[in-house]
């Protein structure tokens, strides 16, 4: 019995070692050289097309080896995701399950082939206008209500989760799916936070062999954000425009260090509740009046204001929300209302991976004289056409901002 157990343990160790080895690395030194790859290619061609009797790698091993040589310099890849978790890979990721729709959009930006994605969240499936190519993929549910049967059934190599949203739910998904299949790798990215956005694009590009696509997208992203930052940097802090931001729930604002606080700052605004320690505080209407903002921004597209965005061409709900803010009791005493500087923006272009389009709108609204040539809609159009590969003109369809 003891001998059998030892044998079993040895077999398991051997299998684990094989799983960790780089395919076609003949000398097992951890580096796949060009010579080793060439031998593997020739052995494969010889066995399949030239009648040779050589021992050839399987087609899967050969393709994996080609990927590792081309994209990871022939070595195992160790990456750290946004949650700080480090993973070492000796095989490329070919079957991805995404609970994170924001990362799905980011993967499209770097040019990932849709056939490498085998399952998506229900939100992607509910949005056929923005995600037409993913309709028909397995429905994984959501982070809060995952469909484990579907997720395990599609046999993913990797599962993508959020890094900073619903961490306990994401932990539970990871624990449950790991128990079903210990070989699944888990990665956590946000794909909507400005501070980690560019790093996430770079990491995903490296992880998935899309460094070139990531570089192209980062050049575009750098231009879009740089054109705003270049001007904002010249505005003294004391001259920054006071801004009141409210999300889809009335009087729910953005506190210190929240994503929206950061986005106001990126556009050169001064968040009037930026000193509030709560991330999304519900504020007193009178506190808004007393802080007398120059600009009011209301975000719609969720909760009580589920309208607009890519699938909705009707601007009238935006008009109603705009009017309702101006009609709030005593708010006409505020500078923003008196000067007609109330703006409505849809969460599609400020809350997710398209946040840089929203901050371009913010900058234009905060400082119209300083950004006469900034055209956020043109940035939006280029993003959709060039990086999302969508035949969709935001000048003709959808409702994203009001007044336009």
């Amino acid at each position: 019995m003891t001998r059998r157990l030892i044998l079993l343990a040895c077999s398991l160790c051997l299998l684990a070692g094989m799983a960790m080895a780089i395919p076609c690395d003949r000398d097992s030194d951890g580096t796949l050289t060009s010579s080793e790859l060439a031998t593997a290619i020739l052995d494969s061609l010889d066995a399949r097309q030239m009648g040779g009797a050589v021992e050839a790698p399987s087609p899967g091993d050969l393709r994996d080896a080609a990927f590792i040589y081309e994209h990871w310099d022939g070595r195992a890849l160790t990456i750290t995701d946004t949650s700080g978790q480090t993973t070492t890979l000796t095989r490329p990721i070919r079957r991805i399950a995404l609970f994170n729709s924001d990362s799905l959009e980011m993967l499209r930006s770097i040019g990932l082939e849709p056939d490498r994605i085998v399952g998506v969240s229900k939100y992607a499936l509910e949005d056929p206008i923005f995600y037409p190519e993913y309709q028909g993929k397995a429905n994984l549910g959501s982070v809060w209500s995952p469909d484990y049967e579907q997720a395990a059934g599609i046999r993913p190599d990797a599962v993508f989760l959020y890094a900073s949203i619903s961490q306990s739910s994401c932990d539970e998904i990871e624990d449950t799916l790991s128990a079903i299949d210990p070989d699944i790798r888990f990665f956590r990215f946000d794909s909507f936070r400005p501070t980690v956005y560019a790093d996430e694009v770079r990491t995903l590009g490296l992880l998935l062999g899309k460094r070139e696509g990531a570089g192209r997208f980062l050049a575009f992203y750098g231009d879009a954000t740089g054109s705003v930052a270049g001007v904002v940097d010249t505005i003294p802090v004391k001259d920054r425009i006071p801004v009141y931001l409210e999300n889809w729930n009335d009087y729910k604002s953005a506190g210190k260090g929240s994503g929206y606080d950061e986005k106001i700052e990126l556009a050169g605004g001064m968040n009037i509740f930026g000193d509030n320690p709560a991330e999304y505080p519900v504020v007193d209407p009178e506190a808004v009046i007393s802080r007398n903002p120059d600009v009011i921004v209301k975000i719609v597209g969720a909760g009580e204001t589920t309208f607009g965005g890519y699938g909705d061409d009707d601007i009238s709900p935006f008009e109603r929300v705009h009017r309702a803010i101006s009609d709030r009791p005593v708010w006409n005493q505020m500078k923003a209302i008196r000067d007609g500087r109330v703006h409505i923006i849809h969460t599609d272009v400020i809350g997710g991976p398209e946040y840089f389009i929203g901050t371009a709108y913010f900058a234009k609204w905060f400082y119209p004289d300083r950004f006469p040539d900034l055209d956020p809609r043109a940035v939006h159009r280029q993003y959709l056409e060039e990086f999302q590969r969508l035949d969709y003109d935001p000048g003709k369809h959808g409702t994203f901002v009001y007044p336009a």
């Binding site: 060439a38 290619i41 061609l45 097309q49 030239m50 040779g52 080609a66 192209r216």
Partner: protein, 155 residues
Amino acid sequence: MTPRRSVTLCILIVLLAAPVTAANIERIVTSSGDGLDVTLVVTGIPVGGIVETLPDGCVWKETDHPADRTRLSGGKAAFAVIGEETIRYRVQGPQEAAGVFTGTWEDLLTGESGTVGAAGTHGPESSKTPVEAPGFLSVAALAALAVAYRRRCGR
């Protein structure tokens, strides 16, 4: 915007708008003395494999491809492609054999495969009607120029 910036922007736009290069291999065959010089121009295949079938009556002579990336067996030549954009080889045989070469390629990164010369843009002169060639090195230089031109044009 200054003219210089406009030009830079135009170049950037052209580069960014350039579609991903489709995988393809062209074959250029030219006569040389008592044999034929074959140049394979590889496009959009960073890692892959090629198997060329030599026509009857042709005998393998040499190649400029590294020895450890080339294998010969029974009238076939296999090449491992790892970053190369041209592969040149020479066979001894009749000039009429120029149009009888066949071959297949595989792109190991995309899984695509195809026939050598199937989507090529070279004219019939290059493969079906061999003419007196300027020699192996000149053909190689022409092929290299073609590759450089294609790179500059972003295609």
